[in-house]
Amino acid sequence: MSLERPDTPDDATIERTPDELAELLGDLVVGRDDHRNAPGFVIRPDTVQQTLSRLKEEAGYDHLSLVTAQEYENRYESIYHLKKFDDPTQEVSVVVPADTDDPVSESGEPVFRTADWHEREAYDLIGIEYDDHPDLRRILLPETWQGHPLSIGYDKDRPQIATLPEHANPLEDHHRDAESDTMFLNIGPHHPATHGVLHLKTILDGEQVIDVEPDIGYLHRCEEQMAQNGTYRHQIMPYPDRWDYISAGLLNEWAYARAAEDLAEIEVPEYAQVIRTMGAEMCRIAAHMLALATFALDVNGDFTATFMYAINDRERVQNLLEDLTGQRLMFNYFRLGGVVWDLPEPREEFFSKTRDFLDQLPGSVEEYHNLVTSNEIFQMRTIDTGILPPDVAKNYGATGPVARGSGVDYDLRRDDPYGYYDELDWDVVTEDGCDNYSRLLVRMREVEESAKIIGQCVDLLEDWPEDERNIQSNVPRTLRPDDDAEIYRAVEAAKGELGIYIRADGTDKPARFKIRSPCFSNLQTLPEMANGEYIPDVIAALGSLDIVLGEVDR
């Protein structure tokens, strides 16, 4: 069946028990700190690289999903959440405590390239310093910021100064000779092709890019702090809508719902799961439509028509979502334990509207293929540009359509099933081209798969017996998960693996709420794809990554 993995298991995919892992790590382990989702091994701060590389090389944990940093009363802590690309249900956490007075810990960057940005963020927001890190400076806040805002005892009323610096060309001197010279080019933070407020520090040699550095943080609106200030039951759910705001609201809400439900051990009725699955896939279609629209515009300004067509299709999905949830963009539709209300009455009308949409979708998709993907100019611009080889993608923790466009067969809907996905018939889409074109093709084919899923959900919902339409389970008015319960759970959002780490402290608010944003990891791959290419190809590569800055910066 389509949902089964084609690969045959080898050494790397064999599941090891926690005890076998402890044996493998030997004296590196100084204690245990198990999480709800995975065994946790406490190690000394100077053995991070050794531990990570042993887990990567010998046990096959090749996906560093997230680095969480946090401060306790008596220590700092970095957690490396490891998974396997071949089987993401096999997880392990590496817990690295660091001293309160001198929080230094070894960097994991030489083992997993993706740790670079994650550790910079940990340094920026929490204040842990990473030894052996290639470039440890602030990433989200201005470089002149004082204090680390998510550490204990940070005074948020203190004055701050942000600068508007003139950017210097770091390569100016050692690249200059009689024939060549380099030019420094700022792209953004206000630029139509950066999809929001991203700043690319680009250095050109002629028209070729020799170095590009994404400068992020222009939309860092403290999402983690906001979630830590809210109560589990109702106050956190509106915020996920605003991480990936390209209509992917329900997918994001699901990430929080999944983590919090597993933490508080809440069951979700099957009927609600079907509604969630249907709503989430509608969001995926809307998100991919915008990705297509803006990517076409990035590649060639003459694709304005494509933009209008795709927006038109988005309006259709948004109408359905508005009928379902009551809002166009910020749905706030999921509740812990289910959804907030049932399908709109009259149900038949909603079903027939949804079916109408699904019926016209193949025609639209074909139109896009005629307009865009089979267009010669478009193909010349996108095929064999922005190459991202699969091993590089894995090393950077790229997920979602970016990884699947590089042939990495990884989709949490199938590999770590949640909701109703494992009961339905659909396929995971991959392409082997590793280029800008493949990433677009993956998105367009995923739209068709999503339509298949929605169609099956509508059939199920239509025949659901009236007295079994249970949209929410019984959830206590106030949720207080056990003190020191920790969990990391991820779902497949529109851009990839969207994970949430929650640590409870026995109160009705999370003590630490960490978001693993797929765009944050995906954007990190941009220099790999862009260096050596021409400047328009950088824009195309950026467009094909389909980042959304609300989620990159959080």
């Binding site: 805002p149 004055p159 100064i161 942000a162 139509p192 939309l219 403290c222 605003r242 209008m308 988005r314």
Partner: protein, 232 residues
């Protein structure tokens, strides 16, 4: 423009031959109802300022400026279905040098406020600003954030606030049309000194924070100083 009509002609005095000859000479497609209302005279009598304001309000170039969630609804406002162009303000310009109106669609954070101020300064006068969404009013759902500016009005003058999180495209259209009305009436938000201005580092008052940063920031570098304790 409803209360005070600038273009009134007395039909009885119109020399119809002239009018007819003009009309026949031009061909039918040049005959608008406005043309008929003007009668024979190709001239109108009005105040120059009033005329210019009417022109300004009737054709506004928007700055293509996406910040956060609201920019998605802003794109929908420009695109099919809502089509802001119907109201004479649907030409998004990528460069601030060519724009009249800036829609601020999203949360302003500490790192971005100096850049937004710079973009605003680059727009030629007269310029107008529509604040879209709750974040530009007060910081919206992120008001408590350590990094969030409590409203765009802390940095630049705003003419029209459109509330919502995010506002529907219809609401934005309404806001823009209201702005056009104000512009046609010659109204604009006063340009005053804002709590957060771009200034040279050496002009800041020498306090503990400035002393601490003297090694990191050049004297003539532009900075923005945030007093989070005093913000609303």
């Amino acid at each position: 423009m409803s209360s005070d009509q600038p273009f009134i002609t007395d039909e009885s005095r119109v020399v119809t031959e002239t009018r007819d000859s003009r009309m026949t000479g031009q061909g039918d497609r040049f005959n608008s109802r406005l043309r008929e209302a003007f009668g024979s005279s190709p001239f109108i009598l009005t105040k120059f300022d009033k005329f210019l304001n009417w022109c300004r309000g009737s054709s506004m170039f928007m700055l293509q400026f996406g910040i956060a969630c609201c920019s998605i609804e802003m794109m929908h406002t420009y695109a099919v279905k809502h089509d802001l162009d119907r109201f004479g303000s649907g030409v998004p310009r990528a460069s601030p040098r060519q724009a009249d109106v800036m829609i601020v669609p999203g949360t302003i954070v500490s790192k971005f406020a100096p850049r937004m101020k710079r973009v605003y300064d680059q727009m030629p006068e007269p310029k107008f600003v529509v604040g879209m969404g709750s974040c530009t009013i007060s910081g919206g759902p992120f008001q408590e954030g350590y990094n969030v500016i409590k409203g765009a009005e802390e940095v630049i003058p705003i003419d029209i606030h459109v509330p919502g999180c995010p506002p529907r495209p219809e609401a934005l259209v309404y806001g823009v049309v209201k702005l056009q009305e104000r512009v046609a009436n010659g109204e604009a938000a006063p340009v005053t000194v804002k709590p957060y201005e771009l200034e040279e580092f050496s002009d800041l008052e020498k306090d503990e924070l400035v002393e601490k940063l003297t090694d990191q920031i050049d004297e003539d570098e532009l900075v923005m100083r945030y007093n989070f304790a005093d913000s609303p």
